[in-house]
């Protein structure tokens, strides 16, 4: 496959060379997304070294049919083969019903999950709150007084968790000179043009301004809120985020492999989008969410935190948001999308096609990793949602 030829020679041919300047662009992303550590500074999220292999109970679901991205009927097998999918694992009752790998991926290759990182950090919040380390209702500035000059002066940790900060930030991934590109320079994900300077991530977060809306009223998706959340965790625990993730989540989960997270030039860790995990470990994580926070026979995330995701997302804040058109009957709580309010179907979403889909009634977890061309392709998101629902339907 063409993507596998990337970086394959020494040196790679110019059109096969993946760099900091092109790693999120197609076709380079097919290599870049599974080799983030070769492009950026990263910190390890240590696994414990003790894990149980995932059991298999293979099901023939490749012919599952659904209306794909282009609105035409497709099978799961054909959709996976034609959509820049890097990995897809389907767990039914915790066992592998199907798995698929492309573009050089394997079950144990870490792949960046972008904003699925947010949902991982949202789950972590429940653990820290349960331990008394974090107060979700406390003001952000009780942890980070330096944010007093910013929009974060007046909001709570809960507003960060639920993405209801009244913040002025246009999350347009394609604007060549907007908030997002300044953010990327701050985190070091794009090369800084000659002569241009940038604050580091924490410095950038302190510049965020209000948009005039009341905190709590509107679901307003802004990545920096989750970076602030990760910073709050660090202050709350007195440890770097990678260590907190390891100690409270990755080790008790029984992850098979170390995960890792991108860091900026001064050690700030990208809670909003920089976590890289293996397909099997992301599946284990999804399965833990499905089991109300239980993994390895122990309660890792408090069950009440998962229940709260299902019960306390504000449908009105959602209805007022830019995302309401995409998923009309959803809500959002603690960094998780509840896309079906009747069946409590939960979704974690990352740009370029990363998903964790949890369908409790079908006892189903699906994870997908991808290197889709565009960061946010609503047609693709809707197609995959239909695909995941169709798989769930087979198990109902």
């Amino acid at each position: 496959m063409a993507a596998n030829r990337l970086m394959s020679d020494f040196p790679p041919a110019p059109d096969k060379l993946v760099t900091l300047a092109n790693w999120r662009k197609s076709p380079y992303s097919a290599w870049g997304f599974r080799n983030v550590r070769q492009l950026l500074p990263t910190a390890e999220i240590l696994a414990s070294g003790h894990f149980q292999s995932l059991e298999t109970d293979l099901r023939d679901i490749g012919q599952t049919s659904f209306k794909g991205r282009d609105g035409r009927e497709a099978t799961l097998a054909s959709a996976l083969g034609s959509s820049n999918t890097d990995a897809c694992v389907v767990l039914r009752r915790g066992r592998i019903a199907a798995e698929w790998y492309g573009n050089g991926m394997s079950a144990t290759t870490p792949h960046i999950v972008f904003s699925v990182s947010k949902s991982i950090c949202g789950a972590l919040g429940g653990i820290l709150a349960d331990r008394g380390l974090l107060d979700p209702d406390a003001p952000v500035t009780s942890y980070i007084p330096e944010l007093a000059p910013s929009v974060y002066a007046t909001c709570s940790v809960r507003h960060l968790l639920d993405m209801t900060v009244g913040i002025s930030f246009v999350e347009d991934y394609d604007d060549p000179d907007g908030d997002v590109i300044r953010y990327r320079y701050a985190v070091g994900w794009d090369p800084l043009p000659a002569g241009r300077e940038s604050p580091d991530l924490r410095g950038f977060l302190a510049t965020m301004k209000p948009d005039g809306k009341k905190h709590g009223d509107v679901f307003h998706y802004v990545s920096t809120n989750t970076d602030v959340l990760g910073w709050v965790y660090e202050r709350a625990c007195g440890q770097p985020l990678a260590e907190i993730l390891s100690q409270f989540l990755w080790q008790p989960l029984g992850a098979e492999k170390d995960a890792y997270i991108a860091v900026d030039k001064h050690g700030a860790m990208r809670a909003a989008g920089g976590i890289c995990v293996t397909p099997h470990d992301l599946a284990r994580f999804g399965e833990m969410i499905r089991r109300r926070g239980v993994a390895n026979g122990r309660q890792v995330i408090p069950g009440a935190w998962i229940d709260d995701i299902n019960s306390s997302g504000d449908p009105e804040a959602w209805a007022r948001s830019e995302f309401a058109e995409l998923f009309p009957k959803a809500s959002y709580r603690s960094k998780w999308y509840r896309i079906d309010r009747e069946k409590n179907v939960l979704l974690a979403i990352g740009i370029h096609g990363q998903y964790v889909y949890i369908h409790p009634e079908a006892e189903l977890v699906i994870i997908r990793m991808a290197s889709e061309h565009t960061p946010l392709d609503p047609d693709s998101a809707l197609g995959w949602r239909r695909g995941f629902d169709a798989i769930a339907q087979r198990f109902l």
Copy 2:
């Protein structure tokens, strides 16, 4: 300990902040050398997942006495505690006789070993030659024709292995505008000053010029030779160096943890100095060398390659070198120093105090990792050599 406070707050205080600009300077190096992946792009060198824990047979050697760095009598315990030592492991007959950790290190924390990387790559060469993948006597340009305009046009792989290339390069780590700093910009180990440009590592290697001396005549320590060697391996195997190291060395060795290696902005891997390994795995590696290439009951490195290190180093090439004063009776072969030609004592050396010491007669392997202030401190090197010899003496 003060070094442990580095990077401990969020953000760290300015005098506790470790960055690309200070990570090799004291005191920042005490954190930087065990967190290279948080500062640089890196590639993993995968372990197999199967390893045997090192057995222990503890010996009370802390009071071993020797003439230290300052020429005064010291004990091993006091020397370890006052020399920016990060880790020291003493294996006697393959079992841990003593181990010591400081500055936040543990048995399983990867630490950069600088030019000990060269010795690791030298051992790898024996494996590749044995498999018929590498011909040590072949011209470098038979693997890398692009080096024809450089000094490497006329030398063989063997000249790279033995550091006898007649190359013009002043390996002065303290010169603010010499060959070394240009080399550092090329590999991305120092921030590029505003307005300055640099080739990547491979581009830099192609600019190396001859010094007029005949290849093979003089041991002339130049790091770039080992980067070229790593590049030769990549061409010989058609794989990135990190994969070659994993497949042929790290997995068969039975390493406990993944190691990793620094990469430049275009994926070139730092064979000369960028490998980061854990103390226990470096001890396993040293023990394999001591056992003539055997680990886990199998011959990983050909015994003849180790024998050749002991028999074929050229004492005359050594006698003509800048290092002859430091270790008068040594020789150098396949990236290993043989510092005692009677007892075949082997040494691997990295800047800032990294060592692997192998004393066959005493059935002893010692590894030391450190964050010494100066890159190359001859007094310290001589002191530690006396210390290692004194430990060996106890077991003779």
